[in-house]
């Protein structure tokens, strides 16, 4: 839904650090917070994060309401893992990813990176943090400036954030291109001379140029041809292993998310409704929406057809979400309580959380 804008395209630039971000919430002293018993500490964590977009009408652009794109979301991504974020169009995945990177300000709540509240950082600290956090977009063409040579596109973050000489930058560009499987002799060409899959490799090379710790991949393979998607997924897995990357992997196709994610979060209308280890989620979804979503995706095989649960109705508008549980208007199990009371995201089993009054047994 959301295309990268100039600010995001330039996310690595010193002038684009989202300084407008309101420093909300109190920064709690202390280091990285880990869930008790979890395998690794959280590298990045959202706490009660909200992002509302004003809906404006009329001559004086009066604010008549808000799209609650992200509404009180808390979750964490552990160091070295891939956290998959799934949900239907408009549920707030991209917005959540961008607020986590401070490419968009938060309306309320906080994002902690290595224990520090990033929305409370000064411009200089934020600039340093930018080097640690990067994004890969869905549309490689829209996120690459068409008037830049590939060498400059990949070298730009190095130029902005390091003191490397141009010869050293060029060496590094060659290394990066080889690392992502591009022919480095083509570095003096423009992005349109590359295929979609190759352009996505350029975007990836650019994203890893500063050796970040954390990468948000927003539908990074969705726009690619099927036969090229697995090439790019392989590359992302290889880089994760070699560079120790942590990914927030946003997608609406479930097969690729399942393959690459250690854990998965399911969103519905601005809410996180379930978080679980990938295998546990697919073996047994606890939230009725997760169950529906898993069953709705057509599987490319004739064997072992799953029983499909077909929902009634469409996804309601996030400007005017249903009361109580937001899924109650379409949920096959909804009771009176679901209309009245909003379920909190609670621990249902070790390492898994669900927001439902009547989770599936």
């Amino acid at each position: 839904m959301t295309e990268p804008n100039a600010v995001e395209r330039n996310a690595m630039g010193p002038h684009a650090v989202g300084t407008g971000a309101a420093a909300v919430g109190l920064s709690v002293a202390g280091g990285t917070l880990a869930e008790p018993g979890s395998a690794a500490p959280y590298l990045i964590e959202a706490r009660n994060l909200k992002k509302y977009f004003p809906i404006k009408r009329g001559l004086f652009s009066r604010v008549v309401g808000h799209v609650k794109a992200v509404d009180d979301v808390s979750f964490g991504v552990r160091e070295g893992e891939t956290f998959g974020l799934v949900g239907e169009s408009g549920c707030g995945k991209s917005t959540l990813g961008r607020v986590m990177l401070n490419l968009k300000s938060a309306t309320a709540g906080e994002v902690r990176f290595e224990g520090r509240n990033i929305h409370a950082l000064g411009p200089r600290e934020m600039r340093e943090l930018r080097e640690e956090m990067q994004i890969i977009f869905q549309d490689p063409m829209g996120s690459l400036n068409p008037r830049f040579l590939v060498r400059d596109l990949i070298g730009e973050p190095l130029k902005l954030h390091t003191k490397l000489s141009s010869a050293a930058i060029d060496d590094r560009v060659v290394q990066l291109m080889e690392l992502v499987g591009l022919d480095a002799t083509r570095r003096n060409r423009y992005p349109h001379e590359f295929s979609g899959g190759q352009r996505q490799r350029i975007g990836i090379a650019r994203a890893i140029a500063l050796e970040p710790k954390f990468i948000v991949a927003d539908e990074a393979v969705s726009a690619l041809d099927v036969s090229v998607q697995s090439q790019v997924l392989n590359l992302m897995m290889k880089l994760q292993e070699e560079l120790g990357l942590t990914y927030l992997f946003i997608a609406h196709g479930l097969n690729d998310v399942r393959h690459i994610s250690n854990r998965i979060g399911v969103m519905y209308l601005g809410k996180m409704v379930e978080v679980a280890d990938t295998d546990a989620l697919f073996a047994k979804p606890l939230h009725p929406y997760t169950q529906v979503l898993l069953s709705a995706i057509p599987q490319p095989t004739l064997r072992g057809k799953r029983e499909r649960i077909v929902l009634q109705g469409d996804v309601p508008s996030p400007a005017n979400p249903p009361s109580g549980c937001r899924f109650h208007t379409r949920c096959p199990f909804a009771q009176e309580r679901c209309r009245a009371e909003e379920p909190a995201l609670l621990e249902a089993a070790p390492g898994r959380q669900v927001a439902c009054h009547f989770p599936l047994a």
Binding site: E88, S89, S195, G196, G197, Q198, D225, V226, S227, V228, Q229, S230, Q231, L233, N234, M237, K238, H252, N255, D256, R258, H259, I260, T278, D279, V292, L293, S295, A296, I297, P298, Q299, P300, T301, L302, R308, V310, L311, D314, V315, R330
Partner: protein, 330 residues
Amino acid sequence: MAQELLEIKDLTVGFLTEKGFVRATDRISLSLPKGQTLCVVGESGSGKSVASLAVMRLIDYAGGVIAEGEVHFQGQDLTVKSQEEMRRIRGNKITMVFQDPMSALNPVFTVGEQIAESLRLHKQLSAGAAWSRVIDMLRLVGIPDPEVRARQYPHEMSGGMCQRVVIAMALACDPELVIADEPTTALDVTVQAQILELMQKLKREMGMSILLITHDMGVAAEMADRIAVMYAGVIVEEGTAEDIFERSRHPYTHGLLKSIPGLSGERGTELYAIQGNIPRLGELPAGCRFSPRCPFAAERCFREEPPLLPTPDGHRSACWLESGPEVKTS
């Protein structure tokens, strides 16, 4: 063998460009038995939409030229018909559902008026009879409160609802053939599930045939009786859904299925990947179009283009390999 409703023979459709005449489809042959669903699958630019627009002769309006071949529909060759004659067939015996429902609907008329209009045109129904059929059709495609909804404009409805309206319109005249080009690609997955279910149900109840174009092998697995796989303007493999999913013979089909995550291999392990990229139309390789990417390519593959020939189990594949890819990859 079932009776063929649609038979495409050696259809070549192309465009005049600065590079000369480029063939978006190159001598493709396909047949669709009555009452069945034929899925045409393939990646972006493989020629799926061009082929379907040529069947409808809408390609004339898109700047395309049918350079060769025939399209037999109920025994008549559509490629030689005038647009005047085609107008009596389109929207009546053959109807179409596109990816973007908004482009198929006129924003200044209510959805009910639009469906009624085609009924008056093709079926010479009175206004009253047309309107009651409109309500029936909207109800059939699962639109709640059809009497109210019929009086609404497209922008007052969600994308999924609009696609149901388009399907209602496509079915109102009781067509023999519905051509659906990525009808669910723009929809949410839960809404896609509703629409696919609806199309299955309507096909059973109304007995029409469906030519379904998709790039999603999952959608094909769910919907298809028969499948044709296109690559760079040609059909590389064609057969029943079982032939394609269980016994694919062509290295491209085989690789495409193998590269889908989750079907083979363990989570987090390296995925099978077809190397390289899809060739551009003006820069097709010599010989087999898949040869630069094919792990099995032999010397002959780079010289001679393989024709679509019967396989030992009776489906068709355009590949010089004698034993099929299964044997060599395991």
